[in-house]
Amino acid sequence: MSGIFNLSRRKFCQAGMLAGGGLILGFYLPGLDRAAAAAPPIEGTFAPNAFLKIGTDDLVTVIVNHSEMGQGVYTALPMLVAEELDADWSKVRFEAAPVDPVYNHALWGMQATGGSTSTWTEYERLRQAGATARAMLIAAAAAAWKVAPSSLRAEQGQVVHTASGRRLTYGQLAEKAAGLAPPKNVKLKDPKNFKLIGKPAKRLDTPEKVNGQGVYGLDVKVSGLLTALIARPPVFGGKVKSFDAEKAKAVPGVRQVVQIDRGIAVVAEGFWAAKRGREALGIVWDEGPQAGLDSRKQREQFAELAAQPGAVAKQKGDADAALAGAAKKIEAIYELPYLAHAPMEPLNCVADVRGGSCEIWVGTQFQTGDRDTAVEITGLKPGQVKLHTMLLGGGFGRRAVPDSHFVREAVQVSKAVKAPVKVVWTREDDIRGGYYRPVVYHAIAAGLDGAGHPVTWRHRIVCQSFTVDTPFEGAMMEHGVDASAVEGARGLPYEIPNLLVDWKRAPGAVPCLWWRSVGHSHNAFVVESFFDEVARAAGKDPYEFRRALLKNHPRHKRALELAAQKAGWGKPLPPGMGRGLAVHESFKSFVAQVAEVSVSKEGKIRVHRVVCAIDCGPVVNPDTIAAQMESGIVFGLSAALYGEITFANGRVQQRNFHDYPVLRINEMPVVEVHIVSSKDAMGGVGETGVPPIAPAVANAIFAATGRRIRRLPIRGEDLKKV
């Protein structure tokens, strides 16, 4: 960890007074990575550099630079500060950070939330923030009592003079501490002395989420607020030919109709009027080059591409020669569909562009890019654009968009009508709006020697790239390979002497995006399902076969062993049931899952139980880790059982939860989460529960029925007993 942060360059920039008196503390870690160095801070930025406020009321407010979308950062990140601060947890509050370089992601040089990185990238920085504040509070008390700082200790939001038992609360010390210079070096706690970190803590955001008070983007109220719905092309890449603004304006409550880059906006007094106005627009579209897009044809096209070599992502030995010489060959095609993120809160954004200012309220994972988009549209200076990060009703990657399209729309509409506007997406807009997990076609083969040992592994991945031509191209493309397409496949953990993983780029017919666990979401399914096929072909137990070949991957192995042991791997199950497992590394964490599944005669699948083991290194809030594993399992199961976006005549064929179903409570398996006790590097938890579930379930289905699932979602017709 410490390698990431060059602490000698740490520079504390500002310690100032709070409006009501008290300590406000922040610091700045410049030039942490190439990206930050390459992108100089935008001129005119106001930089308060604050991560932490302590008021005279004893309340400790942690300013959180990552977006809360359910993954628990509004609790985990304050825990890091509070631990080193020795704060009273009941006095700790959170606040969403404004947009400023000081709040940039510790590695990415921009303010953003994603990649399951929030906790591990802030682990050191926020503890430093807490420890520094603690040292200043102790110094303030030492000055007040005229004693040596070393004679004082901090506990539960107070500084205590050990000898006399005198105490001052942090609130009482806040003003004094604010006048002090931050110390250059502070020592962080030895983890064995942690009081908060590593123990389950109640989420700070729960109370406002059970009484309707939490404010999501869609809930923002601004005086004079109008609501806009946007008619977007029914075919990606289509354009407006003509429309009838007057018909829309004839709908009571509709105020204006404006054309923007991405379609026609109907601006009204409220949602319902806007919706009816939109229906009245009578738009004629020029459907553009994708008018013929058809999922079945696309499948054939991908199959042809899979016959051609791709760009090499990983190569070891000579996979082809070894396959030609193998005693036994196993070959398969795996297919996965486009997937919509479908966060519970449909996309939305409030923008108020008037005079020389622009104010934005939005649930976003991508503050810097969104703010810069507003700057570009309005011609204002960054300092004149104020962006408020609201609670996100789910993100899963959908709210981290390099083109900031949902913010762009709102800013353009507000600018055009000169009033605050809330652009609301209906669920249909969301499901049909693109930015999907790409459709992927995998051609995979392996060979066994005469003794049943795997000697070669050849994996070709065919899919589009959604990072080329975006600001992320530089970070994602490596030697002509899009890392987001091959992650989870190129790092095969199993010991196999010959290996070839390559990527064949498919045309990008549809806007695509990172979908919770990104490339891992398909590669884990293929690798872990196919590895099961290989194990069966070798006549081996899939668990033992994996263990034997994970010699050099102890973290995979430990997670796998823990899950298998807790699940009772090998113990008999009732007839008609099967057990399957999968283990996968993603986002620096190692997750193994064992699924118990039954399949009815009609091909109906029931997942009864999932045992999950995770090694994510040191633990901050174990309850959040359990919640995120449960969450990832449900998300992955929804996709495995139901998730599929398809095209006909260029149009998305699904539109709401009736034809894009997700798991419901009556289908929920019992999920047991076990955390590997680990001192290894810290990894992420937000996405890492997703990848193993589909292969674990598919492998369980094989165990139960002998039918191998090679395309998702799992189809009843692939399962019916023949």
Binding site: G70, K209, M344
Partner: protein, 156 residues
């Protein structure tokens, strides 16, 4: 003009009677605790009580609510003291939290009609409420806990 009684307060709104109750609550009355998730009665995010029943406000014309008692999450209890709210906090159920108003309003009907629900009752009551974050296991646990709290007279 439509007269509405929401959380024991009377309101008069000038609105197209076809407008779904959801938007009247959220936009005209400012009660944004009730959420929009699908607009097709598929997800339950918009669940409110209409004369005590867990009605999907996104498909309920506001005219239907006239003369009825409407209760939203804001009016379920005084200070988050409903047994379900206590249990939701105790079990740390919410993730993004967006579905939770609807989940709680649905569960409230279940608990009223069946003070000791079995898992099958929970499945029968709650399968209309989607949680995209997948908090189902905790929702189940919290409903059982709320039943115990309610049984001990612990609601406010």
């Amino acid at each position: 003009m439509i007269k509405l009684k929401v959380n024991r307060k009377e309101y008069t709104v000038d609105i197209n009677p076809e407008t779904p109750l959801l938007w009247v609550l959220r936009e005209n009355l400012g009660l944004t605790g009730t959420k929009f998730g699908c607009g097709m009665a598929l997800c339950g995010a918009c669940t409110v009580h209409l004369d005590g029943e867990a009605v999907r406000s996104c498909v309920t014309p506001v005219a239907r609510a006239e003369g009825k008692e409407i209760t939203t999450i804001e009016g379920l209890s005084l200070d988050s003291g409903h047994p379900l709210q206590q249990a939701w906090i105790a079990e740390d159920v919410p993730q993004c939290g967006y579905c939770m108003s609807g989940q709680i309003m649905s569960a409230a009907v279940l608990l009223r009609e069946n003070p000791r629900p079995a898992d099958a009752d929970i499945d029968a009551a709650m399968a209309g409420n989607i949680c995209r974050c997948g908090a189902y296991q905790r929702i189940r646990r919290a409903i059982h806990l709320a039943a115990r709290i309610q049984g001990q007279g612990g609601g406010r």
